[in-house]
């Protein structure tokens, strides 16, 4: 069952800034063999000119940080849960007030 990923709990996915960030100074793809790219089922990461990049940020599963634990060099980070909560709440309020 392919789920519509353009929304997350009814909110427009493109308005939710949840996706991984790669710290270039820590990222060593030649050593790990692109762990993140091989791990992510949503194809968020890509290989460009020999480095790992976040190619499809909004394909990332909201609230999912499992790739962060995959990176042997700690190069991947995400927004905090509190930042995510604020984003979701304000979007929800905006959506509900537009609906009225």
């Amino acid at each position: 069952m392919v789920r519509d990923r353009s929304t997350y709990t009814g909110l427009p996915r493109s308005r939710i800034n949840w996706f991984p960030r790669i710290d270039k100074s820590k990222c060593k793809p030649q050593e790990c063999g692109f762990h993140c790219l091989n791990f992510c089922p949503f194809k968020v990461f890509s290989r460009v000119d020999g480095v790992a990049v976040v190619a499809q940020p909004y394909e990332c599963n909201v609230g999912d940080e499992s790739c962060r634990f995959q990176c042997p060099f700690g190069a991947i980070s995400f927004p905090t849960r509190e930042e995510l909560r604020k984003t979701l709440r304000s979007l929800r309020e905006e959506l509900n007030s537009n609906a009225k």
Binding site: T9, G10, V62, G63, L84, R85, L88, R89, R92
Partner: protein
């Protein structure tokens, strides 16, 4: 001292009950844990039968507030209070039972939201 935030339990009546057919369980549970001030939000398939009893006895702690999204509140009381009493907990003072049957996901979420906000005032 009771923990400040309430804990949310969703009992989804095996997942087959028509009463929850309009509700997207996983969307609801992620909305609750992602947007509301709850300690966490979990799902149990059927609290009202034996393994539900064993779960409640293993899980419930005195003094903690629980919001249980399930069926009719009077039914919830009847079904859960004994198991809770066995471990020194009190249904009436610790549980806010919510009937979330026959609701769309957004409607159920609003009901839980209002309950959490009233509790955390």
């Amino acid at each position: 001292m009771s923990e400040s935030k309430p804990k949310f339990l969703m009992c989804i009546c095996t997942g087959q009950c028509p009463g929850f057919s309009k509700l997207n369980l996983w969307e609801l549970i992620n909305m609750i844990r992602g947007e509301l001030d709850v300690e966490y939000a979990i799902v149990h398939p059927q609290l009202c039968v034996e393994d539900g009893d064993r779960f409640l006895k293993d899980y419930i702690k005195p003094g903690v507030k629980y919001i249980i999204g399930a069926c009719d509140p009077t039914m919830q009381r009847k079904m859960f209070k004994d198991a809770m009493a066995e471990v020194g907990a009190n249904f009436d003072s610790q549980v806010i039972p919510l009937d979330l049957r026959n609701m769309e996901t957004e409607q159920a979420f609003q009901k839980v939201k209002e309950t959490v906000e009233a509790l955390n005032k």
